[in-house]
Symmetry: C2
Subunit: 345 residues, 2 copies
DNA sequence: TTGAAAGCGGTACCAC
DNA sequence: GTGGTACCGCTTTCAA
């Protein structure tokens, strides 16, 4: 390339990276050859030499989840805006694969690794993440946890979270204030941190309303529509006196809605339903689902901004300071799936 | 690293890449230091030197589309299986951004660039893609088009497609054989190749059934629920005699369903609805949507396999031979959103 | 089996 | 303003 244009490699570099004054003549000469050869610089060589495009890695359990897709969109969008690149890897809920991916990303020299989605709260979790955080930090990278519990102690990681429990509290309150007392609760998988938080929020709401919370009305299970369906189906036999369903996610709510209809019950006339997440599905169902809006895309943007700032800011703000744990708000979106309990049931 | 272990860099390389016989002693010595230092090789240096992990780039309009997410999952899954890495970039339907991304990927030295989703059939399309294909090919990479029209002429690209028109033909036939004659057709955006194919399939079915196809019953618009809603709303005023809706995608069908309900019409008793894509939404709606199944995830897997084979196979099969254009089948999934037309309407 | 050394394709510092 | 050149960290001959 350099010889083809009859100039030095240094000059080519200067023209292409554009961070150095060059004569018009030289620039023209180089650019002509670039066009002739359809030339692009080698990103690997560039990275090796110090320059290079910063890259964020997004690690996700399952790329087909709507909520995660929105976070990814937020990260990707914000990254693109800054000229950063984004890598995506899926873990399939497999800890080994997660580890492998974190290391792979470390090899790639990514600026940050963003881990998405509620975590299973097994004992090792804190240790495992702390290890990731330190590994990445030592390699000049940074760990960002999105929608997961923050790390305890002095660990070099950033957490972007949302008010999970508060959203559930508000959602349950909405049901309670409409007059519902017997509520079927489908929090999600018992071990998942998000499910735990949502359940806790609901309990607190019941407490605040002075309504006894019946643990027998809680049914754990995966965050999918099949669980929503079967849980309602079972409940219809065992504890059929519920007048509302508080689902852990919109997808679970969709399943619940189908089960009710299959049993000849109307929504919301006979039974009210609420969801959580506010993914597009919520407004595609009939009736449109009253749910908790979680700012997924915004979280993605915030996550990227956090690492970008920390990069630019350089030695500016110290770790341990504010900014290591960001919490975004949630709010109830009222649509058409809630009505006061019918006197008939 | 090498000195820390008291061995040569060559030896370290041999141990870590594991493609060369090494003594047990050396291996142990190196691995110990690797663990001590939490060391990972630099992927950029490795790529530069010739080795390196093959990477596929997935370019997508909008990461939040369920159909695309499934293709991405297929590609990513198959890539992971082979130890490949996947990059994801979103174009936001912006041709400039698409170009920028293709070049960016070329810089990254990706093994292949997979372009997802129906293309806008503007004049330049063929030229543009041919240019991409040649650029990538010259750089030792390869272009794969998924769900897009194949390229004409001798262009170094692979196309993975599905029987779009056939699916629409079958879907429309299903409606016709149920007795529907006045069908509201919402193909999607007029310029999008997938929409054109779906419309063509529907027309052919009408022809085959000897039923005159009324162009006045066709309403173009974006592939989203809002369009489905407003199109039905309008049609209810202008051509209210339809007994079924043939939607271009499941999402459009969801919008259509809502509009019908808002107008006090029942689905499928008063009006039948069918979709296209068979994304999870289709079975989450009530009634569950009869739709055309498109093997999105499979397409992703096939796309990756195609490039992987071509890589391994080396000079094996010639371009221009079979294998450059793969077409997967589609089929109708019958659920509960279709009924013979009611005599009342 | 292991080490030495020549690149891979850039960047950036140092002369001219 | 431009050219020369020493690395960046790894893979891969070539010798020992």
């Amino acid at each position: 390339m350099a010889e083809r244009a009859g100039v030095s490699v240094a000059s080519v570099s200067r023209v292409l990276s554009g961070n150095y004054p060059v004569s018009e003549d030289l620039r023209r000469r180089v650019m002509k050859v670039v066009r002739d050869l359809d030339y692009v610089t080698n990103a690997h060589a560039r990275s090796l030499a110090g320059g290079g495009t910063p890259t964020v890695a997004i690690l996700i359990n399952n790329i087909t989840g709507a909520a995660f897709a929105h976070v990814a969109k937020g990260v990707e969008g914000a990254a693109t805006l800054r000229g950063w690149l984004s890598l995506v890897g899926t873990t399939g809920d497999d800890p080994e694969r997660e580890l492998a991916l974190v290391n792979l990303m470390r090899q790639q020299g990514v600026a940050a690794v963003v881990l998405l989605g509620g975590a299973y709260d097994y004992d090792e979790y804190q240790l495992r993440m702390a290890r990731f955080a330190r590994s990445l930090d030592a390699a000049g990278s940074h760990l960002v946890l999105v929608g997961r519990p923050p790390l305890e102690g002095d660990v070099p990681a950033t957490t972007v979270d949302y008010d999970n429990e508060g959203g559930a509290y508000a959602m349950a309150s909405h049901l309670l204030s409409a007059g519902h007392r017997r509520v079927l609760v489908l929090p999600g998988p018992a071990e998942l941190t998000t499910a735990q938080g949502r359940l806790r929020g609901a309990e607190r709401a019941f407490e605040a309303y002075g309504v006894p919370f019946d643990p027998g009305m809680v049914r754990y299970g995966p965050y999918d529509d099949e669980h929503g369906y079967s849980a309602v189906e079972t409940a219809l036999h065992e504890t059929p006196d519920f007048t509302a369903v508080l689902a852990g996610t919109d997808v679970v709510a969709a399943g619940a809605m189908q089960a009710l209809r299959a049993a000849g019950l109307r929504v919301p006339e006979d039974v009210s339903i609420v969801g959580y997440d506010d993914i597009p599905l919520a407004s595609q169902l009939t009736p449109q689902l009253t749910t908790v809006h979680v700012p997924y895309e915004e979280m993605g943007r915030v996550a990227l901004r956090a690492v970008a700032d920390r990069r630019e800011g350089g030695g500016g703000r110290r770790k341990g300071a504010d900014g290591d744990h960001l919490v975004l708000g949630t709010h109830v979106v009222v649509r058409n799936s809630v009505q006061p309990p019918s006197t008939g049931r």
